[in-house]
Symmetry: C2
Subunit: 109 residues, 2 copies
DNA sequence: TGATTAGCATCACAATGTGACTCTAATCAT
DNA sequence: ATGATTAGAGTCACATTGTGATGCTAATCA
């Protein structure tokens, strides 16, 4: 199953869509979690997810900006979406009834 | 932050309340996830969570059953509940807007 | 031409997760 | 009373995942 950080990364990348590349994903993660995302965690996890087939990555052309280095673009594969969904579902399912879950009446699922 | 399995374990233990002990937690986890829970994962994770103060454990008296060995009882501490809540919230928050999340209208939070 | 900048890569290490195997003490059947 | 069976815990070496410090590259700017 996905680890927690792997899930974070896939979710961030999926949200960014076409604009998903290393540094942007990192910002996205830091924003949505409020915690630092280390470079090491970022790229090693990208590598691992790509190996597992949950992500696809490729290098873009360098952008014409000061320091505009080539970006490593990221796309979540269908398998990646599936894995994320299954992680999410697992958390939700397992959490049903837990005291810390806002119990909105007719809990569907 | 909590790992995924740590979260599972805390949730299962919390759900079992007074009846939370090693083997029962294991069954609970296997039931709610549909996956095997290895003994090693179980007890090493219990140890770690206890070290972190998220669980408290103690040995019960042996029960008068065939093979009724002393059980290692588990209680989730207030810190443990907090940690679980914070993990859950993080997953929910981060997942907002993800395509695999059933977007039920007024998403509270 | 060299300072600054955006961004990627790596490596050794820390934390987590896993399973095969073993141990214990209690009942049960002979 | 002795050995098979049972519920349950403990351990260890290993696999997987997460982290941060450090450095590299190529582009712009002054």
């Amino acid at each position: 199953m996905l680890g927690e950080f792997e899930y974070l990364l896939i979710t961030a990348a999926a949200g960014l869509g076409d604009k998903a590349y290393g540094a942007a994903i990192r910002e996205e993660i830091e924003e949505s979690t409020g915690r630092k995302c280390s470079i090491g965690a970022l790229y090693t996890t990208i590598d691992r997810l790509e190996t597992k087939g949950l992500l696809k990555t490729w290098m873009s052309d360098a952008t014409p900006q000061r320091g505009g280095r080539a970006k490593r673009m990221v796309r979540v594969t269908p398998e990646g979406v599936l894995a994320a969904k299954s992680f999410y579902d697992a958390v939700i399912r397992v959490s049903r009834g837990a005291s810390w879950v806002a119990n909105r009446n007719g809990s569907s699922l």
